[in-house]
Each structure stands twice: as structure tokens, then as C-alpha cells.
Amino acid sequence: MGRFKKSGGKETPGINTGSMSDIVFMFLFFFMVITKIRQGELFVRISAPAATEVQKLERKNLVSYIYIGVPIKSKLYGTEPRIQLNDQFATSENIAEFIANERAVRNEADRQFLTTSMKVDKKVKMGIVTDVKQELRKVGAYKINYSTKRGKVTD
């Protein structure tokens, strides 16, 4: 009774991979939306301290960053904490110039909302941070944000 016999060999049907690209594209767009492209290279090692009362930094295009920490290439630049502005090491005297530049590239209406985010390593002593804060006060950049992680503080 060869009636029900199928013709040809038993091949498993191939999986349709046509929609795979759609799924991957969805992933891609998801990541593109929630991330931002890394800006510049960090020359200093920064491990942010933890805090519980953290707020999210709004309007990222109106934020200028000041990094303070021990240089990653400590053989070349020593182990003393340094300030990094944009893509180079700086001293606290450069802050005024830096803020002026940051202001100049924003339009006038937005300048008052300019925030300075201080990304400082937790081992750094306050002396250098205080110097930076004094410079910021002199040039009138009063809005600052101490960058921290979310985490428990007390034990």
C-alpha cells in the first residue's frame, strides 16, 4: 500500500531566518536609544563614591565635565591626582577658560542652565576639589553635581 508514502527523502524544513534581522535591528535601535557614545578618553582613573540621595542629571547637552583622579599612566604622569578637562590634563587655573569655552558653544538662553559635573575619584583629597570649586565660584558656575553611584553609604 504505497498510497501514503511520501515522495522523496525526509528532509526537515529549514527554519525561516527572514525575521531574525528584524529582531536584531530592534536590539540595535534599543541600544542606540539608551546609550550615548563615549566622549573622549579618560586619562584618570575614577571610581565614584556611593550615595543614596542621588538625582539624575538632566539635559546632558548642558553639562560640562571635570574629571579628577590619579592618572592611569602613572608611570608617565605620576601618582598625584590630576584634573582632566576635555582631552588634556589641566590645573585649577585653566577652569575659568574651560567654563568660558563651554559657555561660548551654547546658545545664550541655555547658558544659565549649564551644570558642571564633577567626576572625582573617591580616594582624592578635598584640597584639589576645593580649589576647583573656588574657581567655579569665581566664574559664576554655581550649579554643580557631584557624580556618584547609587549605593549604600552607612554600614
Binding site: 531566518t17 546609550t35 583629597k125 565660584r137 554655581y142 552607612t154
Partner: protein
């Protein structure tokens, strides 16, 4: 009958988009910027008058170069700082050593015993940044907790969930009264 156009081979599309995906994974970072927002005070004018504040209205927090705390003249502990600061502002027993309160009429809240207290925070140049952030965090936590309590009591919601008018009212009743003392060596250079 028109000839069918040959179908495009889409098998490699997934590979291409995977490549793109990997590229974006590499060059981007996920960290959302979190932090403690603060406002620096303007530089003091040359012969500005020092505002007179009664001693009992100032909650002095000193941090030395060894990351040790001195709270109101006594060695303090970071774990109890939040409670101490709250106690100072609320002054539930009306102690003459803690902050004064003044009855004030605040919109949406009504008469409220607003504290006249100010936290004065001073740190040494040798204090570690971690300790400084800890202290700032605990002081901010004290204020946030007081705000939450008042919001719960008056509006039945947490401070963060209040609408703008209400949150302004609560912020008026409990302002962020943290003052950072002038670093000592700045005045000496002039």
C-alpha cells in the same frame, strides 16, 4: 505573464545588523549620570557683613584630614549623623540647645513651625572625597526624610510624587539649609 523578480537573499542581513549591534555595544556606555546636585554660593563681597546667626541655630559639622567627624563639638559618627541632623531641625522637645522654630503661614500647608537652623559644614583639605560625599549625602537624606514625612502628613504622598505647587510649599517649609564654610586658606592668599 510577467516574469517574477528574483527574491533578494536576506540571509546575511542578520549578520550585518549583528555587526552594527556589536559596534554600538562597544562604543557606547550605559552609565546614566547620577549625582548629588548642589549650588555653590557666590563669592563673598569684600566687606560683606557676616549675617548674625545665633549659636543654637547652627549645626556644626567638621570633618578632619583623618575623615573623623566633629558634630556640635562632640566626636560624631556617620551612622548617626542623619538622625542628629533631623533632631536638630525638628527639635521635638523644644530644647534650648537645638534650633529655634518660628510659626509661619505657608500656602497649602498652613501654619508650620519652620526651623531657623542651618547646617554648617567644613572640611579639611585632607578629607577624602568619599567621606565628603558621605556627609553631604547623610545631610541631604535628613532633609529629604523630613520633607517626605511632612508630605505624607499633609498630602498623603511622598515628596517626589507631589505636584509642583505642593512640592514648592514643602520645600519652603523645609529648605535645604546646608552652608559650606569658606575654606580657610582662601582668605589668607589675598
Amino acid at each position: 505573464m510577467p516574469r517574477k523578480a528574483p527574491e533578494l537573499n536576506t540571509g546575511s542581513m542578520a549578520d550585518i545588523s549583528f555587526l552594527l549591534l556589536c559596534f554600538f555595544l562597544m562604543v557606547s556606555n550605559m552609565d546614566t549620570d547620577l549625582g548629588l546636585a548642589r549650588k555653590l554660593p557666590p563669592m563673598p563681597e569684600k566687606d560683606a557683613k557676616v549675617p548674625e546667626v545665633k549659636e543654637r541655630n547652627v549645626f556644626v559639622v567638621l570633618v578632619n584630614a583623618y575623615d573623623m567627624l566633629l558634630v556640635e563639638g562632640k566626636p560624631g559618627n556617620i551612622n548617626t549623623l542623619r538622625k542628629d541632623a533631623k533632631n536638630f531641625f525638628l527639635n521635638p522637645t523644644n530644647s534650648p540647645d537645638l534650633s529655634e522654630k518660628k510659626l509661619e503661614d505657608i500656602p497649602f500647608i498652613g501654619p508650620y513651625e519652620k526651623s531657623k537652623g542651618v547646617i554648617s559644614l567644613q572640611n579639611d583639605r585632607g578629607t577624602s572625597y568619599e567621606m565628603y560625599v558621605k556627609v553631604q549625602n547623610e545631610l541631604a537624606a535628613a532633609i529629604n526624610e523630613m520633607r517626605d514625612e511632612l508630605s505624607m502628613q499633609k498630602f498623603g504622598k511622598k515628596f517626589a510624587d507631589l505636584n509642583e505647587e505642593y512640592s514648592k510649599a514643602v520645600a519652603k517649609a523645609i529648605p535645604v539649609a546646608i552652608s559650606e564654610a569658606e575654606p580657610k586658606d582662601i582668605g589668607g592668599k589675598k
